[in-house]
Protein backbone atom coordinates (compact mmCIF):
# COMPACT_ATOMS: atom_id res chain seq x y z
CA UNK A 1 0.00 0.00 0.00
CA UNK A 2 1.77 3.06 -1.25
CA UNK A 3 0.01 5.48 1.10
CA UNK A 4 1.45 3.82 4.20
CA UNK A 5 5.03 4.50 5.11
CA UNK A 6 7.21 1.77 6.62
CA UNK A 7 6.96 3.61 9.95
CA UNK A 8 3.18 3.55 9.81
CA UNK A 9 3.26 -0.15 9.01
CA UNK A 10 5.63 -0.75 11.94
CA UNK A 11 3.22 1.08 14.24
CA UNK A 12 0.29 -0.99 13.01
CA UNK A 13 2.33 -4.19 13.42
CA UNK A 14 3.07 -3.29 17.02
CA UNK A 15 -0.59 -2.60 17.74
CA UNK A 16 -1.56 -5.91 16.12
CA UNK A 17 1.01 -7.73 18.23
CA UNK A 18 -0.39 -6.22 21.43
CA UNK A 19 -3.90 -7.25 20.39
CA UNK A 20 -2.78 -10.74 19.46
CA UNK A 21 -1.04 -11.06 22.85
CA UNK A 22 -4.35 -10.22 24.59
CA UNK A 23 -6.16 -12.74 22.43
CA UNK A 24 -3.63 -15.44 23.41
CA UNK A 25 -4.15 -14.58 27.08
CA UNK A 26 -7.95 -14.88 26.68
CA UNK A 27 -7.59 -18.21 24.91
CA UNK A 28 -5.27 -19.45 27.67
CA UNK A 29 -7.98 -18.55 30.23
CA UNK A 30 -10.51 -20.65 28.34
CA UNK A 31 -8.48 -23.70 27.48
CA UNK A 32 -6.08 -23.90 30.40
CA UNK A 33 -3.44 -24.75 27.79
CA UNK A 34 -0.51 -22.52 27.00
CA UNK A 35 -1.34 -20.95 23.68
CA UNK A 36 1.10 -18.70 21.87
CA UNK A 37 -0.02 -16.54 18.98
CA UNK A 38 2.66 -15.28 16.65
CA UNK A 39 2.40 -12.67 13.93
CA UNK A 40 5.19 -13.31 11.46
CA UNK A 41 4.01 -10.63 9.05
CA UNK A 42 1.30 -8.17 8.12
CA UNK A 43 0.59 -6.77 4.68
CA UNK A 44 -1.46 -3.83 3.48
CA UNK A 45 -2.89 -4.09 -0.01
CA UNK A 46 -5.74 -2.74 -2.09
CA UNK A 47 -8.70 -5.04 -2.61
CA UNK A 48 -8.01 -5.28 -6.34
CA UNK A 49 -4.46 -6.47 -5.71
CA UNK A 50 -5.53 -9.11 -3.20
CA UNK A 51 -5.92 -12.17 -5.49
CA UNK A 52 -2.57 -11.50 -7.14
CA UNK A 53 -0.74 -10.88 -3.87
CA UNK A 54 -2.22 -13.85 -2.01
CA UNK A 55 -2.59 -16.46 -4.70
CA UNK A 56 -2.12 -19.23 -2.13
CA UNK A 57 -5.43 -18.20 -0.54
CA UNK A 58 -7.27 -18.39 -3.84
CA UNK A 59 -7.07 -22.14 -4.24
CA UNK A 60 -8.97 -24.31 -1.84
CA UNK A 61 -11.67 -23.93 0.76
CA UNK A 62 -11.59 -21.38 3.53
CA UNK A 63 -13.39 -21.50 6.86
CA UNK A 64 -13.88 -18.05 8.31
CA UNK A 65 -15.35 -16.05 11.17
CA UNK A 66 -16.41 -12.56 10.10
CA UNK A 67 -17.29 -9.62 12.29
CA UNK A 68 -18.02 -6.15 10.96
CA UNK A 69 -17.53 -2.87 12.75
CA UNK A 70 -18.44 0.77 12.30
CA UNK A 71 -17.69 4.00 14.05
CA UNK A 72 -14.61 6.15 13.69
CA UNK A 73 -13.53 3.75 10.98
CA UNK A 74 -15.66 1.17 9.25
CA UNK A 75 -15.02 -2.25 7.81
CA UNK A 76 -14.92 -5.95 8.61
CA UNK A 77 -12.52 -8.37 10.18
CA UNK A 78 -12.24 -12.06 9.40
CA UNK A 79 -10.27 -14.96 10.77
CA UNK A 80 -9.43 -17.37 7.96
CA UNK A 81 -8.27 -20.98 7.99
CA UNK A 82 -8.10 -23.83 5.57
CA UNK A 83 -10.91 -26.16 6.84
CA UNK A 84 -8.53 -28.86 8.03
CA UNK A 85 -6.51 -26.31 10.05
CA UNK A 86 -9.76 -24.96 11.51
CA UNK A 87 -10.83 -28.49 12.46
CA UNK A 88 -7.41 -29.17 13.97
CA UNK A 89 -7.48 -25.92 15.96
CA UNK A 90 -10.96 -26.61 17.36
CA UNK A 91 -10.01 -30.19 18.20
CA UNK A 92 -6.85 -29.24 20.04
CA UNK A 93 -8.57 -26.42 21.96
CA UNK A 94 -11.49 -28.64 22.98
CA UNK A 95 -9.26 -31.68 23.64
CA UNK A 96 -11.29 -33.73 21.22
CA UNK A 97 -10.07 -36.17 18.65
CA UNK A 98 -10.01 -34.87 15.10
CA UNK A 99 -12.97 -36.65 13.56
CA UNK A 100 -13.53 -34.82 10.30
CA UNK A 101 -11.82 -32.29 8.06
CA UNK A 102 -14.78 -29.92 8.18
CA UNK A 103 -16.72 -28.37 11.04
CA UNK A 104 -20.23 -29.23 12.16
CA UNK A 105 -22.59 -26.68 13.73
CA UNK A 106 -21.22 -27.13 17.22
CA UNK A 107 -17.57 -27.03 16.23
CA UNK A 108 -18.11 -24.05 13.92
CA UNK A 109 -19.64 -22.35 16.99
CA UNK A 110 -16.38 -23.00 18.80
CA UNK A 111 -14.37 -21.51 15.94
CA UNK A 112 -16.74 -18.55 16.05
CA UNK A 113 -15.89 -18.01 19.73
CA UNK A 114 -12.16 -18.27 18.97
CA UNK A 115 -12.52 -15.80 16.09
CA UNK A 116 -14.61 -13.51 18.28
CA UNK A 117 -11.90 -13.48 20.96
CA UNK A 118 -9.13 -12.73 18.48
CA UNK A 119 -10.99 -10.09 16.50
CA UNK A 120 -12.27 -8.39 19.67
CA UNK A 121 -8.79 -8.36 21.18
CA UNK A 122 -7.25 -7.02 18.00
CA UNK A 123 -9.78 -4.30 17.26
CA UNK A 124 -10.33 -3.57 20.96
CA UNK A 125 -6.61 -2.88 21.28
CA UNK A 126 -6.75 -0.59 18.23
CA UNK A 127 -9.69 1.28 19.79
CA UNK A 128 -7.86 1.67 23.10
CA UNK A 129 -4.67 2.90 21.50
CA UNK A 130 -6.34 5.15 18.93
CA UNK A 131 -8.83 6.32 21.57
CA UNK A 132 -11.74 5.75 19.24
CA UNK A 133 -15.01 3.88 19.54
CA UNK A 134 -16.46 1.21 17.32
CA UNK A 135 -19.70 -0.72 17.22
CA UNK A 136 -19.36 -4.38 16.36
CA UNK A 137 -21.79 -6.83 14.82
CA UNK A 138 -22.11 -10.37 16.09
CA UNK A 139 -19.64 -12.78 14.49
CA UNK A 140 -20.77 -15.12 11.74
CA UNK A 141 -19.22 -18.34 10.47
CA UNK A 142 -18.80 -18.76 6.70
CA UNK A 143 -17.21 -21.29 4.32
CA UNK A 144 -15.91 -20.08 0.96
CA UNK A 145 -13.99 -21.32 -2.02
CA UNK A 146 -10.96 -19.04 -1.93
CA UNK A 147 -10.42 -15.52 -0.70
CA UNK A 148 -12.10 -13.73 -3.63
CA UNK A 149 -15.20 -15.91 -3.23
CA UNK A 150 -15.28 -15.13 0.50
CA UNK A 151 -15.07 -11.40 -0.03
CA UNK A 152 -17.54 -11.30 -2.90
CA UNK A 153 -20.07 -13.46 -1.05
CA UNK A 154 -19.92 -11.39 2.14
CA UNK A 155 -21.69 -8.05 1.91
CA UNK A 156 -19.87 -6.96 5.03
CA UNK A 157 -16.51 -7.62 3.42
CA UNK A 158 -16.96 -6.38 -0.14
CA UNK A 159 -18.84 -3.10 0.33
CA UNK A 160 -16.70 -0.17 -0.78
CA UNK A 161 -13.55 -1.82 0.46
CA UNK A 162 -10.48 0.34 0.37
CA UNK A 163 -7.50 -1.10 2.14
CA UNK A 164 -7.01 -4.62 3.32
CA UNK A 165 -4.74 -5.49 6.18
CA UNK A 166 -3.76 -9.14 6.05
CA UNK A 167 -2.18 -10.52 9.18
CA UNK A 168 -0.57 -13.90 9.02
CA UNK A 169 -0.79 -15.58 12.40
CA UNK A 170 0.40 -18.86 13.83
CA UNK A 171 -1.16 -20.68 16.78
CA UNK A 172 1.33 -22.67 18.84
CA UNK A 173 -0.68 -25.03 21.04
CA UNK A 174 0.90 -27.98 22.81
CA UNK A 175 3.13 -29.43 20.12
CA UNK A 176 1.06 -28.19 17.21
CA UNK A 177 1.63 -25.20 14.99
CA UNK A 178 -1.48 -24.09 13.12
CA UNK A 179 -1.35 -21.20 10.67
CA UNK A 180 -4.18 -18.91 9.73
CA UNK A 181 -4.86 -15.37 8.60
CA UNK A 182 -6.63 -12.38 10.03
CA UNK A 183 -8.10 -10.14 7.39
CA UNK A 184 -9.14 -6.61 8.30
CA UNK A 185 -10.86 -4.67 5.55
CA UNK A 186 -11.25 -0.93 5.96
CA UNK A 187 -13.60 1.08 3.82
CA UNK A 188 -12.01 3.62 1.56
CA UNK A 189 -12.85 6.61 3.75
CA UNK A 190 -11.55 4.77 6.82
CA UNK A 191 -8.09 4.39 5.36
CA UNK A 192 -7.32 8.07 5.76
CA UNK A 193 -8.84 8.09 9.25
CA UNK A 194 -6.54 5.21 10.18
CA UNK A 195 -3.50 7.04 8.81
CA UNK A 196 -4.46 10.11 10.78
CA UNK A 197 -4.79 8.08 13.95
CA UNK A 198 -1.43 6.42 13.43
CA UNK A 199 0.09 9.79 12.84
CA UNK A 200 -1.51 11.16 16.01
CA UNK A 201 -0.19 8.43 18.28
CA UNK A 202 3.23 8.55 16.61
CA UNK A 203 3.53 12.17 17.65
CA UNK A 204 2.76 11.34 21.29
Amino acid sequence: MNNFTPLEIDTLTEIINIGIGRAASALNDITGSHIILKVPSIALVLLDALPKTFQHLENGLISSVIQSFEGDFTGSAALLFPPESAARLVSVITNEEITAANLDTVRSGTLMEIGNIIINSLLGTMCNIFECSLNFSLPEYRDANGLTDLISSSPTLCGEAGMIMLVETTFLIKTLSISGYILVIFRLESTEVLRTMISRISKK
Binding site: A26, D29, I30, T31, Q67, F69, V90, I93, T94, T99, A100, D104, T105, V106, R107, G109, T110, M112, E113, N116, I117, I119, N120, L123, G124, S133, L134, F136, S137, L138, P139
Partner: protein, 357 residues
Amino acid sequence: MKPATDFSFESSLLDQVPFGVCIVEKGYTVVFWNRILEEWAGIAQGDICGTSLLERFPHLTENRYLRRLDAVLEGGPPVIFSPQLHPHFIPAPLAGKRLRVQQTVISCIPPQNPGAGHRLLITLTDMTQPVEQLREISGLREQALTELAERKRAEKNLRASEKRFHDIALSSADWIWEMDQQCNYTFATDKARDILGFHPEELKDYNFLDLLTSQEKLRALETFMPAVANRQPWVDLEAWLLTKDGRQVCLLFNAVPLFDDNAALLGYRGVAKEITDRKHAETDRENLIKELQEALKNIKTLRGLLPICASCKKIRDDKGYWNGLETYIHQHTEAEFTHGICPECMRKLYPGLFDAT
Protein backbone atom coordinates in the same frame (compact mmCIF):
# COMPACT_ATOMS: atom_id res chain seq x y z
CA MET B 1 -37.60 -7.12 46.06
CA LYS B 2 -37.22 -4.97 42.96
CA PRO B 3 -39.64 -4.93 40.05
CA ALA B 4 -38.52 -7.09 37.11
CA THR B 5 -37.51 -4.10 35.01
CA ASP B 6 -38.19 -0.48 34.41
CA PHE B 7 -38.87 -1.04 30.68
CA SER B 8 -42.15 -2.87 30.80
CA PHE B 9 -42.97 -2.89 27.06
CA GLU B 10 -39.58 -4.33 26.04
CA SER B 11 -39.69 -6.80 28.89
CA SER B 12 -43.10 -8.06 27.85
CA LEU B 13 -41.67 -8.66 24.38
CA LEU B 14 -38.56 -10.38 25.74
CA ASP B 15 -40.80 -12.66 27.78
CA GLN B 16 -42.25 -13.99 24.52
CA VAL B 17 -38.98 -14.90 22.76
CA PRO B 18 -37.95 -18.56 22.58
CA PHE B 19 -34.52 -18.00 24.12
CA GLY B 20 -33.23 -16.96 27.50
CA VAL B 21 -32.67 -13.25 28.03
CA CYS B 22 -31.06 -11.57 31.00
CA ILE B 23 -30.05 -7.93 31.38
CA VAL B 24 -27.54 -6.84 33.97
CA GLU B 25 -26.22 -3.41 34.82
CA LYS B 26 -23.05 -2.16 36.47
CA GLY B 27 -22.07 -4.41 39.35
CA TYR B 28 -23.71 -7.31 37.53
CA THR B 29 -27.06 -6.57 39.16
CA VAL B 30 -29.82 -8.39 37.33
CA VAL B 31 -32.45 -5.99 36.02
CA PHE B 32 -34.31 -8.39 33.75
CA TRP B 33 -34.78 -12.15 33.69
CA ASN B 34 -37.23 -13.52 31.12
CA ARG B 35 -39.75 -16.34 31.43
CA ILE B 36 -37.62 -18.83 29.54
CA LEU B 37 -34.81 -18.35 32.06
CA GLU B 38 -37.30 -18.73 34.91
CA GLU B 39 -38.25 -22.07 33.42
CA TRP B 40 -34.72 -23.22 32.58
CA ALA B 41 -32.97 -22.19 35.80
CA GLY B 42 -35.98 -22.63 38.06
CA ILE B 43 -35.46 -19.11 39.44
CA ALA B 44 -38.32 -16.60 39.43
CA GLN B 45 -37.83 -13.07 38.09
CA GLY B 46 -38.77 -11.61 41.42
CA ASP B 47 -36.16 -13.71 43.20
CA ILE B 48 -33.21 -12.80 41.00
CA CYS B 49 -33.87 -9.22 39.88
CA GLY B 50 -31.95 -6.82 42.06
CA THR B 51 -29.41 -9.46 43.08
CA SER B 52 -25.90 -10.04 41.74
CA LEU B 53 -25.58 -12.45 38.85
CA LEU B 54 -22.04 -13.27 39.97
CA GLU B 55 -23.15 -14.20 43.47
CA ARG B 56 -25.94 -16.35 42.08
CA PHE B 57 -23.60 -18.06 39.60
CA PRO B 58 -20.07 -17.91 41.08
CA HIS B 59 -18.48 -19.70 38.11
CA LEU B 60 -18.94 -16.43 36.18
CA THR B 61 -16.23 -14.86 38.34
CA GLU B 62 -13.62 -17.08 36.71
CA ASN B 63 -11.27 -15.19 34.38
CA ARG B 64 -12.53 -17.11 31.37
CA TYR B 65 -15.91 -15.38 31.84
CA LEU B 66 -15.36 -12.25 33.88
CA ARG B 67 -12.62 -10.62 31.79
CA ARG B 68 -14.72 -10.84 28.69
CA LEU B 69 -17.90 -9.74 30.48
CA ASP B 70 -16.03 -6.75 31.94
CA ALA B 71 -14.85 -5.77 28.46
CA VAL B 72 -18.43 -5.72 27.14
CA LEU B 73 -19.71 -3.86 30.19
CA GLU B 74 -17.14 -1.18 29.40
CA GLY B 75 -18.67 -0.75 25.94
CA GLY B 76 -16.59 -3.37 24.15
CA PRO B 77 -17.65 -5.60 21.25
CA PRO B 78 -20.12 -8.45 21.73
CA VAL B 79 -18.76 -11.80 22.88
CA ILE B 80 -19.85 -15.33 22.17
CA PHE B 81 -19.65 -18.26 24.56
CA SER B 82 -19.89 -21.37 22.42
CA PRO B 83 -21.67 -24.61 23.41
CA GLN B 84 -18.41 -26.57 23.32
CA LEU B 85 -16.23 -24.25 25.41
CA HIS B 86 -18.89 -22.72 27.72
CA PRO B 87 -21.93 -25.02 27.58
CA HIS B 88 -23.61 -23.93 30.84
CA PHE B 89 -23.45 -20.14 31.22
CA ILE B 90 -26.65 -20.21 33.29
CA PRO B 91 -26.92 -23.78 34.64
CA ALA B 92 -30.31 -25.12 33.58
CA PRO B 93 -31.06 -28.64 34.82
CA LEU B 94 -32.77 -31.25 32.66
CA ALA B 95 -34.07 -34.69 33.54
CA GLY B 96 -31.42 -37.28 34.35
CA LYS B 97 -28.97 -34.87 36.01
CA ARG B 98 -28.17 -33.34 32.62
CA LEU B 99 -27.73 -29.63 32.06
CA ARG B 100 -29.09 -27.69 29.11
CA VAL B 101 -26.31 -26.88 26.58
CA GLN B 102 -26.32 -23.22 25.66
CA GLN B 103 -24.82 -20.80 23.19
CA THR B 104 -24.51 -17.45 24.91
CA VAL B 105 -24.13 -14.03 23.28
CA ILE B 106 -23.31 -10.99 25.39
CA SER B 107 -23.84 -7.54 23.87
CA CYS B 108 -23.47 -4.08 25.27
CA ILE B 109 -26.54 -1.86 25.65
CA PRO B 110 -25.35 1.73 25.48
CA PRO B 111 -26.52 4.06 28.24
CA GLN B 112 -30.02 5.39 27.62
CA ASN B 113 -29.62 8.43 29.82
CA PRO B 114 -26.66 10.69 30.50
CA GLY B 115 -24.77 9.42 33.50
CA ALA B 116 -26.15 5.90 33.23
CA GLY B 117 -23.75 3.05 32.69
CA HIS B 118 -23.64 0.34 30.05
CA ARG B 119 -25.78 -2.73 30.46
CA LEU B 120 -25.20 -6.28 29.34
CA LEU B 121 -27.75 -8.07 27.19
CA ILE B 122 -27.24 -11.78 27.75
CA THR B 123 -29.08 -14.09 25.34
CA LEU B 124 -28.94 -17.84 25.68
CA THR B 125 -29.98 -20.26 22.97
CA ASP B 126 -30.74 -23.86 23.89
CA MET B 127 -28.40 -26.05 21.85
CA THR B 128 -29.04 -29.26 23.80
CA GLN B 129 -30.88 -31.06 21.02
CA PRO B 130 -28.48 -30.19 18.16
CA VAL B 131 -25.48 -30.99 20.35
CA GLU B 132 -26.95 -34.34 21.43
CA GLN B 133 -27.91 -35.13 17.84
CA LEU B 134 -24.40 -34.29 16.68
CA ARG B 135 -22.92 -36.41 19.46
CA GLU B 136 -25.18 -39.24 18.37
CA ILE B 137 -24.20 -38.75 14.73
CA SER B 138 -20.58 -38.48 15.78
CA GLY B 139 -20.95 -41.73 17.74
CA LEU B 140 -22.54 -43.43 14.76
CA ARG B 141 -19.84 -42.04 12.52
CA GLU B 142 -17.15 -43.34 14.87
CA GLN B 143 -18.86 -46.71 14.91
CA ALA B 144 -19.15 -46.71 11.12
CA LEU B 145 -15.49 -45.73 10.77
CA THR B 146 -14.45 -48.45 13.19
CA GLU B 147 -16.54 -51.00 11.32
CA LEU B 148 -15.17 -49.77 8.01
CA ALA B 149 -11.61 -50.05 9.31
CA GLU B 150 -12.35 -53.56 10.59
CA ARG B 151 -13.93 -54.52 7.28
CA LYS B 152 -10.93 -53.15 5.37
CA ARG B 153 -8.61 -55.07 7.65
CA ALA B 154 -10.69 -58.22 7.18
CA GLU B 155 -10.75 -57.72 3.41
CA LYS B 156 -7.00 -57.24 3.40
CA ASN B 157 -6.55 -60.41 5.43
CA LEU B 158 -8.97 -62.20 3.13
CA ARG B 159 -7.08 -61.05 0.04
CA ALA B 160 -3.82 -62.18 1.63
CA SER B 161 -5.42 -65.48 2.55
CA GLU B 162 -6.84 -65.92 -0.95
CA LYS B 163 -3.45 -65.15 -2.47
CA ARG B 164 -1.80 -67.58 -0.08
CA PHE B 165 -4.32 -70.25 -1.02
CA HIS B 166 -3.90 -69.43 -4.71
CA ASP B 167 -0.10 -69.62 -4.46
CA ILE B 168 -0.27 -72.89 -2.56
CA ALA B 169 -2.79 -74.28 -5.03
CA LEU B 170 -0.62 -73.28 -7.98
CA SER B 171 2.58 -74.63 -6.54
CA SER B 172 1.07 -77.77 -5.08
CA ALA B 173 1.80 -81.10 -6.73
CA ASP B 174 -1.64 -82.24 -5.59
CA TRP B 175 -5.03 -81.44 -7.05
CA ILE B 176 -7.11 -79.14 -4.83
CA TRP B 177 -10.85 -79.29 -5.31
CA GLU B 178 -14.21 -78.40 -3.83
CA MET B 179 -17.55 -80.09 -4.26
CA ASP B 180 -21.11 -79.36 -3.13
CA GLN B 181 -23.20 -81.52 -0.83
CA GLN B 182 -24.22 -83.71 -3.80
CA CYS B 183 -20.52 -84.25 -4.58
CA ASN B 184 -20.62 -82.19 -7.77
CA TYR B 185 -17.28 -80.55 -8.43
CA THR B 186 -17.51 -76.78 -7.91
CA PHE B 187 -13.84 -75.84 -7.98
CA ALA B 188 -10.64 -77.43 -9.16
CA THR B 189 -7.09 -76.23 -9.53
CA ASP B 190 -5.22 -76.49 -12.79
CA LYS B 191 -3.58 -79.67 -11.57
CA ALA B 192 -6.79 -81.46 -12.61
CA ARG B 193 -5.66 -81.01 -16.19
CA ASP B 194 -2.36 -82.83 -15.51
CA ILE B 195 -3.94 -85.64 -13.55
CA LEU B 196 -7.30 -86.21 -15.27
CA GLY B 197 -6.98 -84.30 -18.53
CA PHE B 198 -10.01 -82.12 -17.68
CA HIS B 199 -9.95 -78.34 -17.66
CA PRO B 200 -10.96 -77.12 -14.17
CA GLU B 201 -14.12 -75.54 -15.62
CA GLU B 202 -15.04 -78.79 -17.40
CA LEU B 203 -14.98 -80.61 -14.10
CA LYS B 204 -17.91 -78.51 -12.86
CA ASP B 205 -20.12 -80.64 -15.13
CA TYR B 206 -19.13 -83.83 -13.30
CA ASN B 207 -20.08 -85.55 -10.10
CA PHE B 208 -17.49 -87.34 -8.00
CA LEU B 209 -19.05 -90.73 -8.87
CA ASP B 210 -19.08 -89.95 -12.63
CA LEU B 211 -15.31 -90.17 -12.86
CA LEU B 212 -14.92 -93.38 -10.88
CA THR B 213 -14.38 -96.65 -12.72
CA SER B 214 -17.44 -98.91 -12.59
CA GLN B 215 -15.76 -101.16 -10.03
CA GLU B 216 -14.83 -98.21 -7.89
CA LYS B 217 -18.37 -96.85 -7.94
CA LEU B 218 -19.53 -99.86 -5.98
CA ARG B 219 -16.62 -99.60 -3.56
CA ALA B 220 -17.23 -95.84 -3.10
CA LEU B 221 -20.68 -96.64 -1.76
CA GLU B 222 -18.90 -98.32 1.16
CA THR B 223 -16.06 -95.84 1.62
CA PHE B 224 -16.76 -92.30 0.50
CA MET B 225 -20.53 -92.14 0.72
CA PRO B 226 -20.88 -93.17 4.40
CA ALA B 227 -18.43 -90.37 5.27
CA VAL B 228 -20.59 -87.91 3.36
CA ALA B 229 -23.76 -89.20 5.01
CA ASN B 230 -22.13 -88.80 8.42
CA ARG B 231 -20.58 -85.44 7.49
CA GLN B 232 -17.13 -86.76 8.36
CA PRO B 233 -13.78 -85.91 6.80
CA TRP B 234 -12.23 -88.11 4.13
CA VAL B 235 -8.97 -89.48 5.40
CA ASP B 236 -6.64 -91.32 3.01
CA LEU B 237 -9.44 -92.75 0.86
CA GLU B 238 -8.22 -94.25 -2.40
CA ALA B 239 -10.17 -94.44 -5.63
CA TRP B 240 -9.48 -95.31 -9.25
CA LEU B 241 -10.73 -92.64 -11.65
CA LEU B 242 -11.08 -92.50 -15.41
CA THR B 243 -9.16 -89.76 -17.17
CA LYS B 244 -10.61 -87.82 -20.07
CA ASP B 245 -8.75 -90.12 -22.50
CA GLY B 246 -9.92 -93.27 -20.72
CA ARG B 247 -6.87 -94.15 -18.69
CA GLN B 248 -7.24 -95.27 -15.10
CA VAL B 249 -5.49 -93.29 -12.39
CA CYS B 250 -5.47 -93.95 -8.70
CA LEU B 251 -5.96 -90.96 -6.39
CA LEU B 252 -5.62 -90.62 -2.64
CA PHE B 253 -8.35 -88.31 -1.28
CA ASN B 254 -8.22 -86.23 1.89
CA ALA B 255 -10.96 -83.66 2.55
CA VAL B 256 -12.86 -81.74 5.21
CA PRO B 257 -16.59 -81.10 5.22
CA LEU B 258 -17.78 -77.48 4.78
CA PHE B 259 -20.68 -76.13 6.83
CA ASP B 260 -22.74 -72.95 6.73
CA ASP B 261 -23.56 -70.80 9.78
CA ASN B 262 -26.45 -73.13 10.60
CA ALA B 263 -24.18 -76.17 10.53
CA ALA B 264 -25.73 -77.46 7.31
CA LEU B 265 -23.32 -79.37 5.07
CA LEU B 266 -22.23 -77.27 2.10
CA GLY B 267 -19.87 -79.78 0.59
CA TYR B 268 -16.25 -80.83 0.81
CA ARG B 269 -12.88 -79.20 0.20
CA GLY B 270 -9.82 -81.33 -0.19
CA VAL B 271 -6.80 -82.52 -2.07
CA ALA B 272 -6.22 -85.54 -4.26
CA LYS B 273 -2.78 -86.99 -4.77
CA GLU B 274 -2.05 -89.20 -7.70
CA ILE B 275 -0.64 -92.51 -6.51
CA THR B 276 -1.01 -94.56 -9.71
CA ASP B 277 2.71 -95.33 -9.96
CA ARG B 278 2.85 -96.24 -6.31
CA LYS B 279 -0.18 -98.51 -6.69
CA HIS B 280 1.38 -100.17 -9.74
CA ALA B 281 4.62 -100.61 -7.83
CA GLU B 282 2.70 -102.09 -4.92
CA THR B 283 0.89 -104.52 -7.27
CA ASP B 284 4.19 -105.49 -8.88
CA ARG B 285 5.71 -106.10 -5.49
CA GLU B 286 2.77 -108.17 -4.35
CA ASN B 287 2.97 -110.24 -7.53
CA LEU B 288 6.68 -110.78 -7.03
CA ILE B 289 6.10 -111.89 -3.46
CA LYS B 290 3.45 -114.34 -4.66
CA GLU B 291 5.83 -115.74 -7.29
CA LEU B 292 8.58 -116.11 -4.73
CA GLN B 293 6.21 -117.84 -2.37
CA GLU B 294 5.22 -120.22 -5.15
CA ALA B 295 8.86 -120.87 -5.94
CA LEU B 296 9.63 -121.51 -2.35
CA LYS B 297 6.92 -124.08 -2.24
CA ASN B 298 8.70 -125.97 -5.04
CA ILE B 299 12.13 -126.02 -3.40
CA LYS B 300 12.67 -129.46 -1.68
CA THR B 301 14.84 -129.31 1.31
CA LEU B 302 15.95 -131.92 3.84
CA ARG B 303 15.55 -130.96 7.46
CA GLY B 304 15.61 -132.75 10.79
CA LEU B 305 17.08 -136.21 11.75
CA LEU B 306 17.65 -138.83 9.03
CA PRO B 307 17.90 -142.46 10.20
CA ILE B 308 20.92 -143.88 8.33
CA CYS B 309 22.52 -147.32 8.47
CA ALA B 310 25.91 -147.05 10.16
CA SER B 311 27.24 -149.76 7.88
CA CYS B 312 25.74 -149.59 4.37
CA LYS B 313 24.64 -145.93 4.67
CA LYS B 314 21.03 -146.65 3.51
CA ILE B 315 18.41 -144.21 4.82
CA ARG B 316 15.03 -145.19 6.23
CA ASP B 317 12.10 -143.23 4.76
CA ASP B 318 8.81 -142.24 6.44
CA LYS B 319 7.21 -145.53 5.42
CA GLY B 320 9.96 -147.62 7.01
CA TYR B 321 11.70 -148.66 3.81
CA TRP B 322 15.49 -148.50 3.60
CA ASN B 323 16.62 -146.62 0.49
CA GLY B 324 19.99 -146.25 -0.97
CA LEU B 325 21.59 -142.87 -0.20
CA GLU B 326 21.46 -141.74 -3.82
CA THR B 327 17.87 -142.83 -4.26
CA TYR B 328 16.73 -141.09 -1.06
CA ILE B 329 18.42 -137.79 -1.84
CA HIS B 330 17.19 -137.88 -5.41
CA GLN B 331 13.63 -138.39 -4.20
CA HIS B 332 13.70 -135.71 -1.51
CA THR B 333 15.72 -132.93 -3.17
CA GLU B 334 16.19 -131.44 -6.57
CA ALA B 335 19.75 -132.81 -6.61
CA GLU B 336 20.96 -135.17 -9.36
CA PHE B 337 23.95 -137.41 -9.04
CA THR B 338 26.92 -137.78 -11.38
CA HIS B 339 29.33 -140.54 -10.66
CA GLY B 340 33.12 -140.47 -10.34
CA ILE B 341 35.87 -142.01 -8.09
CA CYS B 342 37.66 -140.13 -5.35
CA PRO B 343 41.51 -140.50 -5.08
CA GLU B 344 41.40 -142.71 -2.02
CA CYS B 345 38.99 -145.15 -3.68
CA MET B 346 41.00 -144.90 -6.85
CA ARG B 347 44.11 -145.97 -4.89
CA LYS B 348 42.22 -148.86 -3.30
CA LEU B 349 40.43 -150.05 -6.38
CA TYR B 350 42.88 -149.22 -9.16
CA PRO B 351 46.31 -148.91 -7.54
CA GLY B 352 48.14 -149.35 -10.87
CA LEU B 353 46.14 -146.64 -12.55
CA PHE B 354 46.45 -144.37 -9.52
CA ASP B 355 50.23 -144.74 -9.45
CA ALA B 356 50.46 -143.95 -13.18
CA THR B 357 48.49 -140.69 -12.70
